[in-house]
């Protein structure tokens, strides 16, 4: 129900009017306060506006710096020509490597064909004519020489691949230097890297085998008794009589026991020598005799982790197989 409008006296700071339904005295009391509040709010808004303008200016400057940095990084990456690398140079390098594999395989087969042909020659095939025999052999030898030209082509292809790698290295290095980027901490191995590590897939070493054949031979015993002769049963009596060094190899899946080696690795071991026995161990008799303790055998495999990758001489390895 609308109440008659009344007037708030201006002397009291009012507008002179009170909304319908409100006590004029109350309005008169509150109105100045409300006006004061509005004025304060306006002042606060003006203050905040000024603050945010300052803030915007600072942020704007920082964003400008960041944008400049990003633009520079983009320019550096552009100069690295990543599309050229990924779509031209690396595919080309890959093709060169495949060609190397193909060329070397073809050359090897050609050489082996010629060798097999010559091994099959007999003077009778040429009616006893030594001259014809020699001519035939010479022909095959010339084919071998021709096939050996693969080395020249292969060398050129390898040079091309090396050049590509150098270019990539140079561009990436320049980018990293310009951006001030340093290597992150070593990443965890990928599943494939872990698999290759666990299966010891190291590949051929540069400069030839790291462990020479003699050293490998030193690690093995002949171990005839654990070998199953084809279609012939293994007779323990015969083994005991004929094989003075006859250790047994257990299946690898069941925590294999290393074979007793008759003597410790010789002093010539370039690689990590296992803990030496106090005295040269005697030749191992038949397994039943157990003249070497398991500790002696285990000591042969007790090589520090940091030495696992070291090079052994062939004699050292051979000693493990004696």
């Amino acid at each position: 129900m609308a109440l008659p409008a009344s007037k708030t006296p201006e002397s009291q700071g009012g507008t002179g009017y009170a909304p319908d339904g409100f006590d004029p005295a109350m309005v008169g009391e509150l109105e100045p306060k409300l006006i004061n509040l509005m004025q304060q709010s306006e002042a606060l808004v003006a203050l905040m506006r000024g603050f945010f303008q300052q803030l915007d200016k600072r942020r704007s400057e920082e964003f400008s710096i960041i944008a400049g940095y990003i633009a520079k990084a983009k320019e550096e990456i552009r100069e690295m020509r990543p599309h050229d690398i990924s779509q031209e140079r690396i595919p080309t390098a890959g093709a060169e490597l495949e060609a190397i594999t193909r060329d070397t395989e073809n050359a090897t087969h050609t050489i082996m064909n010629c060798a097999e042909a010559m091994m099959g020659f007999s003077i009778d095939q040429f009616g006893g004519d030594a001259g014809a025999y020699k001519t035939a052999v010479d022909d095959e030898v010339m084919k071998i020489f021709e096939a050996c030209s693969f080395q020249d082509i292969t060398g050129q292809r390898v040079s091309k691949v090396v050049n590509v790698l150098k270019q990539i290295e140079e561009r990436v290095g320049r980018l990293a230097n310009t951006l001030g980027v340093e290597d992150s901490a070593p990443q965890e191995m990928t599943a494939e890297e872990k698999r290759r590590h666990d299966l010891l897939l190291n590949g051929p070493a540069i400069g030839g085998p790291e462990t020479k054949q003699d050293a490998i031979d030193a690690m093995f015993d002949t171990g005839f008794d654990e070998v199953q002769p084809y279609e012939a049963p293994v007779k323990p009596d015969a083994l005991a009589a004929k094989t003075p060094t006859a250790p047994t190899v257990k299946p690898a899946a069941k925590a294999p026991e290393p074979k007793p080696v008759p003597k410790p690795a010789p002093a010539a071991v370039a690689a990590p020598a296992p803990k030496p026995a106090p005295a040269p161990a005697p030749k191992v008799a038949a397994p039943e005799a157990e003249s070497n303790s398991q500790d002696d055998i285990d000591a042969l495999f007790d090589i520090p982790a940091e030495d696992m990758g070291k090079t052994n001489s062939q004699d050292d390895i051979d000693a493990l197989f004696d």
Binding site: F224, Q228, Y230, P256
Partner: protein, 139 residues
């Protein structure tokens, strides 16, 4: 008849007609080793291009000797060796590793897995014969 002698031990002859399995993923190396074995007198040489194929063959036929590379896919020679030694029917098969893997850790791992001998590449015919002799006996 040399072929009829079925004796064991290093001082006795071996059956040169026994099937020998050569395992390598490079055809060139398969051919080289097979030729060398035939030159040494082995009459029955078969080939496999990786561990999986080799294991399949070994489960179907009996072999007197396996000569395997290490670095192959999908099954490496090392994995093949482990599986052969874990199989009751195959575990006593003579197994020689012929590989470019020459680190000590590789040799030790193969030996622990039960390999009978280990040849590093490159190798020659004399070395191959010497190691086969060491495992199977004179021939």
């Amino acid at each position: 008849m040399l072929g009829s002698l079925r004796k064991v031990g290093r001082y006795m002859a071996i059956d040169m007609s026994m099937p020998v399995l050569v395992v390598d993923d490079y055809k060139t190396m398969l051919r080289i080793i097979s030729n060398l074995l035939k030159q040494l007198g082995f009459e029955n040489v078969e080939e496999a291009s990786d561990g999986t194929e080799a294991l399949d063959k070994m489960k179907k036929s009996s072999y007197g000797l396996v000569i395997s590379d290490w670095n192959m896919e999908p099954m490496t020679g090392y994995e093949l060796l482990l599986k052969v030694r874990a199989d009751d029917g195959l575990k006593r098969t003579p197994f020689i590793m012929v590989t470019a893997e020459s680190k000590t850790e590789n040799v030790i791992a193969a030996k622990k897995a039960g390999v009978n001998n280990y040849i590093v590449k490159p190798f020659n015919a004399a070395t191959l014969k010497q190691k086969i002799t060491a495992v199977l006996g004179d021939f």
